[in-house]
Symmetry: C2
Subunit: 159 residues, 2 copies
C-alpha cells in the first residue's frame, strides 16, 4: 500500500461512515473527496485518478450524488465537458426534502389499515409512529428554515 494523501484518507474514512448507512463505498469516497478537495470542483478523470476508481464507477457514483441533490455539474473554462462540485447548500436541500418522511408515514398508515383501522385494539405503536412521521414531515422544513435564518444572520461571510 503506497502513501495516501490526507484528502484521500479522508475520502476513505467518509466512505466507511456512509457505507454504514447502506451507501456504496464509491459514493462515500466521491463525496468525501469532493468535500475536502481544492479547488472544490473536480473532473471525472481527476476523481477517478485521485480515488483509484474506474470511469464507470465515477460516472455511476456521481449520478447518485447528483440525484440525491448533494453535487452538481459545473462548466470548466478551457475544458471539454464539465466538473463536479458539492453544492454549498447540499445538506439543506437534502434535509428539507420531506418526501423521505412521507414514505414512512404512508407505510404506517397502511399498517394501521392492515391492523384493523384507527380504533382497532393494540395499535398504539402504529398510531404513535404515524403521528410522529406526520409531525416531522411538517416540522422539518420549518427547522431547516430556522437554520438558514440563524446562519444568514450570524455568519457575515457569504459564498
Amino acid at each position: 500500500m503506497t502513501e495516501l494523501s490526507a484528502q484521500r484518507r479522508y475520502a476513505e474514512d467518509a466512505a466507511v461512515v456512509l457505507n454504514g448507512l447502506g451507501l456504496p463505498p464509491a459514493y462515500g469516497k466521491l463525496l468525501g473527496w469532493l468535500l475536502v478537495c481544492d479547488p472544490a470542483w473536480q473532473t471525472s478523470s481527476q476523481l477517478a485518478e485521485g480515488l483509484g476508481l474506474s470511469k464507470g464507477s465515477v460516472s455511476t457514483g456521481m449520478r447518485m450524488l447528483e440525484t440525491s441533490g448533494l453535487a452538481r455539474r459545473v462548466p470548466v473554462p478551457d475544458h471539454r465537458g464539465h466538473a463536479y462540485e458539492v453544492r454549498p447548500d447540499a445538506i439543506i436541500r437534502v434535509a428539507a426534502d420531506a418526501s423521505k418522511f412521507r414514505v414512512f408515514r404512508e407505510l404506517m398508515e397502511r399498517g394501521l389499515t392492515v391492523a384493523g383501522g384507527e380504533d382497532a385494539p393494540h395499535t398504539e405503536r402504529l398510531r404513535v409512529m404515524r403521528d410522529f412521521y406526520a409531525f416531522i414531515e411538517r416540522e422539518m422544513p420549518k427547522l431547516v428554515e430556522r437554520f438558514q435564518a440563524e446562519y444568514d444572520t450570524e455568519g457575515e461571510v457569504h459564498g
Copy 2:
C-alpha cells in the same frame, strides 16, 4: 407461491422500504410483522413460522431491533422464554438519539481540518454542513420533546 396473509404481505413491503435504507431484509420483515400483528407480542417461533425465516435469522434480526431501540423482550405467561414487541415509544427513542448526528458533525470537523482549517478558502460547503449537523444535534431532542408534549395533550388515551 402460496397465498400470503395481509400481515405477511405488509411485512414484505416494509422489508422493501427498510432495505432501501440499507437494512437487511429479515430486519424489515420482523419489524413490519411486529407492527401489525395481533397480539403485539410474538415469540421467536411465531416469527420464524409467520415470516418463513430460520431460527438463526430471527435471533440475529431481533437482536438488531433490540439494540436499535425499536423492540424489547416481554415475558409471556404460560410460556418458557420470552416474546418480542415493538416498544410503543420506539420511534421517539430512536429519533431523540442525537449520536447519529454527532458522527456526521465530527466528520465535517475533521474535513475542515484536512481542508486547511476554519479560515481556509473554498471551505464554505464544509462549514455549512458542520454547522447544520451541530444545529440538528441541538434541536432534534427539543423537537421530539415538543412532539411528546403535543401528543400527550391531544390524545386522551394512553397505553
